[in-house]
C-alpha cells in the first residue's frame, strides 16, 4: 500500500453513515434527534449482537446461516417455559436461552470440526432443521402477549440510565466481544485460522476447535437474542426473524469482514449493522415501502463484497495470484 493514503474501512463506513444521516436530516430533521437515534440503536441492537457472533464465524473462513433459526427456536422455547412457569426468574430464562443457543452452535461446530462438512452445507441444513423443530414443539401455534408474564416482556424494555436494557445488552456484547477478539488467545486464533489454517495448525492452534468455538459463540449470542426478541415483540411463532440471517451476513460484509477469513474488526461489524439499521428505520420515514428492504440488503451485500475484493486485491502477476488463491 506504499504511496497511497490508507483509509481504513471503518472510517469510510462511518463517513458514509454521517452523510446518510445528513441527507435524511435535510428533509426530516426529527430523524437525527438524540431520542430517535437512541431508538434506532435499540432497534438495531439484535442485529449488532448477531453480527458480532457471525463475525467470529466468518473470521475463521466459515459462515453461519442458522442464526435466525436458532434465535427463533430459543425464543419459542423461552416463551413456552414462561407460559408453563410464569414465576421463573428472568436470569434463569436468560441462562436457558444462552445454553440452548450454545447447544445449537455446538451441533454446527462439531459437524464442521469432527466431520469436516463444509459450513455452508451444515448451516443450510440446520437452518431448516431448527425451524422445523419450532413447528414440532409448538404445533404451529403462536404464543401471544397475553400468555407471557409481565416481567418476561418488561425486561428488555426497562430503562436504565436513559437507555433500555436491550441497548445495554448490545453495548455489553460489543465490549465483551471486543475484549475477546483483541485481548485473548482465542481471539488471536480466530484471525490465525482464517488467515492461513495450515500455518495456524503448525503454530499449535487447533483449527477445527477454533472454528467450533466460533460457532458456539455465534450460537450463544443467537440464543441470547432469541429471548430478547420474543420478549420485545411479545410474540413467538415459527417464522419470527425469517431471513434475518441474510441481514446478519450483510452487516458483516458491509463492515468489511472478509468472507475469505482472517480480516475484519468489531468496529466494522457494529458499523455495518448500524448502517443497515439506519436504512431500515429511515425507509418508512422517507416514505418507501418496507418491501424494498430485502432488495436493499441484497444490493448492499453485493456492493460491499465487490468493494472489499477490489480494495484488497494484491498486485502481482495474474497467474501467481490465481495460484495463491487456490491454496
Amino acid at each position: 500500500m506504499s504511496g497511497r493514503i490508507h483509509i481504513s474501512r471503518e472510517v469510510v463506513l462511518g463517513g458514509a453513515m454521517l452523510v446518510l444521516l445528513g441527507l435524511i436530516a435535510t428533509r426530516f430533521p426529527a430523524f437525527v434527534e438524540p431520542g430517535n437515534l437512541a431508538n434506532v440503536f435499540n432497534d438495531t441492537a439484535p442485529l449488532i449482537i448477531l453480527a458480532l457472533g457471525q463475525m467470529a464465524v466468518i473470521l475463521t473462513r466459515c459462515i453461519d446461516l442458522s442464526v435466525a433459526a436458532n434465535l427463533a427456536l430459543t425464543g419459542m422455547v423461552a416463551a413456552m417455559i414462561n407460559t408453563a412457569m410464569p414465576d421463573l426468574p428472568i436470569p434463569l430464562i436468560l441462562l436457558v436461552a444462552v445454553s440452548l443457543g450454545v447447544a445449537m452452535g455446538l451441533v454446527n461446530g462439531l459437524l464442521v470440526w469432527r466431520l469436516s462438512i463444509p459450513p455452508i452445507v451444515v448451516t443450510l441444513g440446520t437452518m431448516t432443521i431448527y425451524r422445523g423443530i419450532i413447528f414440532l414443539i409448538s404445533d404451529g401455534r403462536w404464543i401471544n402477549a397475553h400468555q407471557m408474564s409481565d416481567s418476561f416482556k418488561a425486561f428488555p424494555r426497562q430503562v436504565l440510565l436513559g437507555l433500555p436494557v436491550l441497548s445495554w445488552i448490545g453495548i455489553l456484547a460489543v465490549i465483551a466481544i471486543f475484549i475477546l477478539i483483541t485481548r485473548t488467545p482465542l481471539g488471536r486464533a480466530f484471525y490465525a485460522v482464517g488467515g492461513n489454517p495450515n500455518a495456524a495448525q503448525y503454530a499449535g492452534i487447533n483449527s477445527g476447535f477454533t472454528q467450533c468455538a466460533a460457532f458456539v459463540l455465534s450460537g450463544a449470542l443467537a440464543g441470547l437474542t432469541g429471548y430478547l426478541w420474543v420478549a420485545r415483540y411479545a410474540v413467538a411463532y415459527v417464522d419470527i426473524a425469517g431471513g434475518f440471517e441474510l441481514d446478519v451476513v450483510a452487516a458483516c460484509v458491509i463492515g468489511g469482514i472478509s468472507i475469505a477469513g482472517g480480516a475484519g474488526s468489531v468496529a466494522g461489524a457494529v458499523l455495518g449493522a448500524l448502517f443497515l439499521g439506519i436504512i431500515k428505520n429511515a425507509l418508512p420515514v422517507i416514505n418507501i415501502s418496507p418491501f424494498w428492504q430485502l432488495a436493499i440488503s441484497g444490493s448492499a451485500i453485493l456492493i460491499a463484497v465487490a468493494v472489499n475484493v477490489t480494495q484488497n486485491r494484491p498486485k502481482g502477476r495474474v497467474i501467481l495470484k490465481k495460484a495463491e488463491h487456490a491454496v
Binding site: R61, W113, G125, G208, W292, V309, I319, A326
Partner: protein, 343 residues
C-alpha cells in the same frame, strides 16, 4: 471450503498412497458405486410406499408424484455441473421468483403464451449472467455473491408485487405445468427425461464436461492446461439461470399464480438433491445418473409423506437431515473403516 477440508486433513499423519494388489473389475466397481446404493434405496422406498398406501401404485397417482421433483431436478442438473466445477448457486429459488414476477408483469401487458415463455427463460438467463459476471468477472466467491443475489432477486419481486399476486395467465400457458404429452406422461416428466439425457451427454461425453471435472479438481492446473476457466464457469452460471427460468415457467404454469414467496427454500432442496446424487460438495466428482436417481428418491419420499399426511415443514426437517447425513455418513464410514476408503 477447500481450505477447511485441508486443515482437517493435516490433523492426521500423512500416509503413503496405498496401491491395491489388483484393480476391481468394472462389474465390482459398478456394484459398489453410490448410484447402485441409491437404486436400492429407491426400490426400498417404492416397496414401502406400495405397502403403506393402497393409492400408491395407481399410474395417475405416480404421475402426480413426479411433479414433486421435475422442476427441482431441472435446476439440479445444472447445479450438479456447477458444484462439480467447485462453485455453488444459492439464488436459484429467487431467480424463479423474479422470472415468475416478470411473466406476471408481461401478462398484465397482454403478452401471449410464447412471449411469456420467452420472458421467463430470458429473465433466468439474465439472472445467471449477473451471478456469472460478478463471480468470474470480479473474482468474488460464489457463496457470498449468490447469497446477495438471493435477496436481491427476490427483493425485486417483493418491490413489484408487495403483498399482492399476479393471476390471469392465459389458458394455453397452463399446458406447460398441467398438460400431458401422452397418457400419464406429463410435459414436465418428458422434459425431465429429455434434459436428463442432454445433461448426461453434456457432462459425460463432451469436452465441455471434461473441463468441468478438470476445473473442479484443480482450477489452476485446468487454467495451465489451456481450459478457459472463467468462460466455462460463466457458462455454467448462465445454464443454471436458464434452467431456473425454465423451472419458473413450469411452476408458474402449474400454480397459475405468482407470489413473491414462490419457491422459497427450494435452493436447499436442489442442493440436497445434487449432494444426495453423489456429487462431491467440494467439486470434482459426480454423475448425472446419480442426480436422476436422487430426484426420483426425493420425489417418492415426499409423495409417500404426503400420502401419510405429514406437514410440509416436517418434510423440510427431513430434507435438512438428509443433506447433512449424506455428507456425514461416508465420512464417518471412512473414519471407522479406513481400509475401504483407500480403494
Amino acid at each position: 471450503m477447500t481450505s477447511v477440508a485441508q486443515t482437517q486433513a493435516s490433523d492426521q499423519i500423512p500416509q503413503g498412497r496405498q496401491i491395491p494388489d489388483r484393480l476391481r473389475t468394472p462389474m465390482q466397481r459398478a456394484l459398489a458405486s453410490w448410484e447402485t446404493l441409491l437404486l436400492v434405496v429407491f426400490a426400498l422406498v417404492f416397496c414401502i410406499n406400495s405397502f403403506a398406501s393402497p393409492y400408491f401404485l395407481d399410474p395417475w397417482n405416480l404421475s402426480d408424484a413426479t411433479f414433486n421433483f421435475t422442476e427441482k431436478a431441472m435446476i439440479a442438473f445444472a447445479m450438479a455441473l456447477l458444484i462439480i466445477s467447485g462453485e455453488i448457486d444459492l439464488s436459484v429459488a429467487s431467480i424463479i421468483a423474479l422470472a415468475s414476477t416478470a411473466m406476471g408483469l408481461a401478462v398484465q401487458m397482454g403478452a401471449d403464451t410464447p412471449a411469456l415463455v420467452g420472458i421467463g427463460l430470458l429473465t433466468g438467463l439474465l439472472c445467471g449472467a449477473v451471478n456469472g459476471a460478478l463471480i468470474t468477472g470480479l473474482g468474488l466467491p460464489s457463496i457470498v455473491v449468490t447469497i446477495g443475489t438471493m435477496s436481491l432477486f427476490r427483493g425485486i419481486s417483493y418491490i413489484v408485487l408487495g403483498d399482492k399476486a399476479f393471476t390471469g395467465y392465459p389458458d394455453s400457458f397452463s399446458w406447460f405445468g398441467q398438460g400431458y404429452v401422452w397418457w400419464v406422461f406429463s410435459f414436465e416428466l418428458v422434459l425431465f427425461c429429455l434434459l436428463a439425457v442432454a445433461f448426461g451427454i453434456l457432462l459425460h461425453a463432451t469436452a465441455f464436461g471434461r473441463s468441468v471435472y478438470a476445473i473442479g479438481n484443480n482450477d489452476v492446473a485446468a487454467l495451465f492446461s489451456g481450459i478457459r476457466v472463467p468462460r466455462i464457469k460463466f457458462g455454467l452460471f448462465l445454464l443454471t439461470g436458464l434452467m431456473s427460468g425454465l423451472a419458473a415457467v413450469c411452476l408458474t404454469s402449474r400454480l397459475g399464480a405468482t407470489r413473491p414467496s414462490i419457491a422459497s427454500g427450494m435452493e436447499l432442496e436442489v442442493v440436497t438433491m445434487v449432494v444426495l446424487g453423489g456429487v462431491n460438495i467440494l467439486g470434482g466428482s459426480g454423475s448425472i445418473a446419480g442426480v436422476v436417481i436422487a430426484a426420483l428418491v426425493m420425489g417418492l419420499v415426499t409423495f409417500g409423506f404426503g400420502l401419510l399426511n405429514v406437514p410440509g415443514i416436517v418434510m423440510s426437517i427431513f430434507i435438512g437431515i438428509l443433506l447433512i447425513a449424506v455428507i456425514a455418513l461416508p465420512r464417518l464410514a471412512r473414519r471407522f473403516f479406513p481400509r475401504r476408503a483407500a480403494s
